[in-house]
């Protein structure tokens, strides 16, 4: 266990803590252990879990993940230094900061806020409560300091050069206040969820926050270009009453007041809010700590659940699309796994969301490059629907992984004659649960845009997507579904294969475009794709 520089720095305040009635040596030791464990935890941003047995080598993972935040910070420089509309610019900056810090706090740091082991492990030792709570608080502060520091380093430097020292100091102060507000809001959010729901629900919510963080990171790069256009906007700011609910605007208000020259009543009110509300929130949070701790126990206690929703339809659907009884069994099993396994969701749902958005981003680009709305509507842009297929390879590949690979013994002990129904059922579940919903949603939107004339084409795309799914499956050469431990680099390990699959998807779209030469071409393609589909589905499960 290495000694952390942060702790050496903290040593200077030793006397202060001891005066406040804490055992500094114990607190330092707890923090050292906590920081060591953090280093061994995977960050959502990097998505890397540690495999190696050597602890020292891995203890710096968290520090490495900070680079990503620093790079994101650089992106914010233009927002700070360009333009002449401080309240807009700073609202944007604080909006981004709040989102980034809050989501990373929730996705990466929940395990710290919600660690139920502390109670048993530390509580049974001769350590007083004050020391434990202070260690927890400092732990969160250290984490926030690093995240916020690396995110804001670049914009702060930009501000210092562009506007001078005073602006810089106000910026630092507002960032600190923002951090306070974020911590208090996050903790109060957990408190609320735990108050009314059980721990599983909270884990689900955290899971969805992680998913949205990953997704926003991916889409964020697409939107970045637009942000630069926004900087040039010259709209006068007019305060509306509902701006009270936009936290970032509060934090931007002081800059407008002090450096922008607008001193409306609203601006002053917002500025005051940005100072006092965080303090109030922290005060409320401190008040709720005891009840928070009591509710934390719910995390380890299971409450009885009512019968899950879903009800009959997996049964009916299974009977409809699966021939053998074994296949139906595994169809239902896989459906449940896909819905409940948080690791699977975390890995696949972001690309699911992405494939939902990407067609529209491309359409938006064509729209931007001068084509009129009418041009688009009468054109071939609906072929962008093929981009839905982007999710297929990762969705299919992830089917073999699980967070509890040890449960796989069940496959070996039940009397299964061959494994074909396992694969078939799982693949069908994947199609029903993930691919079809995306396709249906997109098809409805596309039909609204392009009219009913594209219905035959939609049918072709559907059949092609199914074909693509089974091709992806076969080329991946999967292990038994839900049997492999989810490990680092599972996605990148097959980068070449992924590329090949994307090319195949492109080729399918190209083929479709080529068959558009006559009105009957679509129907010919449909027939061909349909037959190919049946054949490939028959062949793909041989020699598994």
């Amino acid at each position: 266990m290495s000694d952390f520089k942060t702790l050496i720095l903290l040593d200077r305040c030793k006397g202060l803590f001891e005066k406040a009635g804490m055992d500094y040596v114990q607190m330092r030791r707890i923090l050292q252990v906590k920081l060591t464990m953090d280093g061994r935890r995977a960050s959502t941003l990097i998505g890397k879990t540690s495999r190696s047995a050597d602890p020292e080598e891995l203890s710096n993972q968290f520090m490495k993940s900070l680079w990503i935040y620093a790079v994101m910070g650089v992106v914010m420089i233009p927002l700070v230094v360009m333009g002449h509309n401080l309240i807009f610019q700073m609202s944007f900056v604080f909006g981004i900061l709040m989102f980034m810090i809050m989501t990373s706090l929730i996705s990466d740091f929940s395990s710290v806020l919600l660690d139920v082991r502390d109670h048993t492990i530390l509580g049974s030792k001769p350590v007083n409560v004050k020391t434990i709570n202070m260690a927890k608080a400092i732990h969160i502060m250290i984490y926030l300091f690093f995240i916020t520091g690396s995110l804001t380093a670049a914009p702060l430097a930009g501000a210092l050069f562009r506007y001078g020292i005073l602006f810089f100091l106000v910026f630092v102060l507002e960032i600190c206040l923002m951090d306070l507000l974020i911590v208090a809001i996050t903790a109060l959010l957990y408190w609320l969820v735990l108050r009314f729901f059980d721990g599983e629900k909270l884990k689900d919510i955290i899971n969805y926050v992680q998913i949205s963080l990953t997704m926003v990171m991916a889409v964020g790069y697409q939107l970045l270009a637009r942000v630069f256009n926004l900087v040039d906007l010259q709209i006068g700011y007019e305060a509306h009453w509902w701006h009270v609910f936009l936290f970032p605007v509060w934090f931007a208000a002081p800059f407008e007041m002090l450096f922008g020259g607008h001193r409306g009543e609203a601006i002053i009110v917002f500025s005051l809010l940005s100072v006092f509300l965080p303090l109030l929130a922290v005060w409320i949070y401190v008040r709720t700590i005891p009840s928070f701790e009591a509710n934390l126990r719910k995390l380890s206690n299971q409450t009885a659940r009512k019968k899950g929703r879903g009800g009959q339809w997996p049964d009916v659907l299974g009977r409809w699309i699966c021939r053998s009884r074994e296949e139906q069994v595994f169809f239902r099993f896989a459906l449940g796994m896909i819905r409940k396994e948080r690791d699977y969701k975390l890995k696949v749902y972001p690309s699911l969301g992405l494939s939902l958005i990407v067609p529209f981003i491309f359409m938006f680009n064509t729209f931007h490059s001068g084509s009129s709305w009418e041009d688009i509507r009468s054109g071939n842009s609906y072929l962008l629907l093929y981009f839905c297929g982007l999710v297929v390879p990762s969705a299919v590949m992830m089917l073999q992984y699980t967070s509890s690979p040890k449960g796989a013994w069940i496959f070996d002990t039940v009397p299964l004659r061959d494994h074909v129904p396992v694969y078939k059922g799982t693949l069908k579940a994947c199609i029903v649960q993930l691919i079809l919903p995306i396709f249906v949603v997109e098809s409805i939107v596309f039909t609204l845009i392009f009219g009913v004339r594209i219905l035959p084409d939609l049918l072709v795309i559907l059949v092609m997507t199914l074909l693509y799914t089974v091709i992806s499956f076969r080329l991946m050469g999967l292990e038994m579904p839900f049997t492999e431990p989810a490990q680092a680099g599972t996605q990148s390990g097959k980068a070449g294969l992924m590329l090949l699959l994307f090319l195949i998807l492109g080729a399918m779209a190209g083929l479709h475009l080529a068959f558009r030469f006559s009105t009957s071409g679509v129907y010919v393609l449909l027939a061909v794709a349909f037959i190919a589909n049946i054949t490939v589905w028959k062949l793909a499960f041989r020699n598994l």
Binding site: R29, V33, P55, R117, K125, P126
Partner: protein, 265 residues
Amino acid sequence: MSESNHEPIISIQGLEMNYGGKQVLKGINLDVYEGQIIGYIGPNGAGKSTTVKIMLGLVKGYSGRVRIFGKDISNGEVEYKARIGYVPEVAEMYDSLTPQEYLTFVGELYGLERRLADHKAQRLMEQFGLEEVYFNRISSLSKGMRQKVLLISSLLHNPDILFLDEPLSGLDANSVMVVKEMLANLAAEGKTIFYSSHIMEVVEKISSRIILLNEGNVVADGSFEQLQEQLHEGTLEEIFTELTGYHEHKDTAARIVSIVKEVQR
């Protein structure tokens, strides 16, 4: 039993505890003396773990009086914990740490010097046959190994009282023998051991005093021989089912078998 001439090391009077409207402990009275090995048994949900957690200050909001080493523990002072070792029911540990890191950490929290804690932990690991995994992560250890690490963590600081909640779970027969013998030796040294288990044969053999808890009440208290005499039953298992009023085991088993047979081939 030499109850008359000593101060009790643990003294519980009128202990009651409510959890969300349900009374889990309904007035426990208990005096424990130095050198006793107490088998604290009872069905699931009888309140065994809760009693232990109250004594460790992990659960608050009880009513009644708990005195350990002659001092009331409700004043929030934590010093008495330095003389207690604890093995929780669920093997909760910081399992991304290695046994070395975890054990020295725990040792230091108990006030040991780091080098000493490390040295002691390593030698105890050796004795338990775990020297090879001293630098591996706890998460990679088997259930039995984790349990041994947990046991070591409760012993490092040479405590005067040991609270062991299911200390034998996951251990193989040989390790169970070692632990049993070790507990007997520790008790002979004057340590007090307060432990709970579901394995009646073990409790029967090693406890100098057995306390049976049912629905929040102490329903039996005495040495195995005393209980045998009072209840005219042969084994502890029989005493257990007799006192917890569970007579349906044959019917339940028969119903289970009949449900199992329902498969058609």
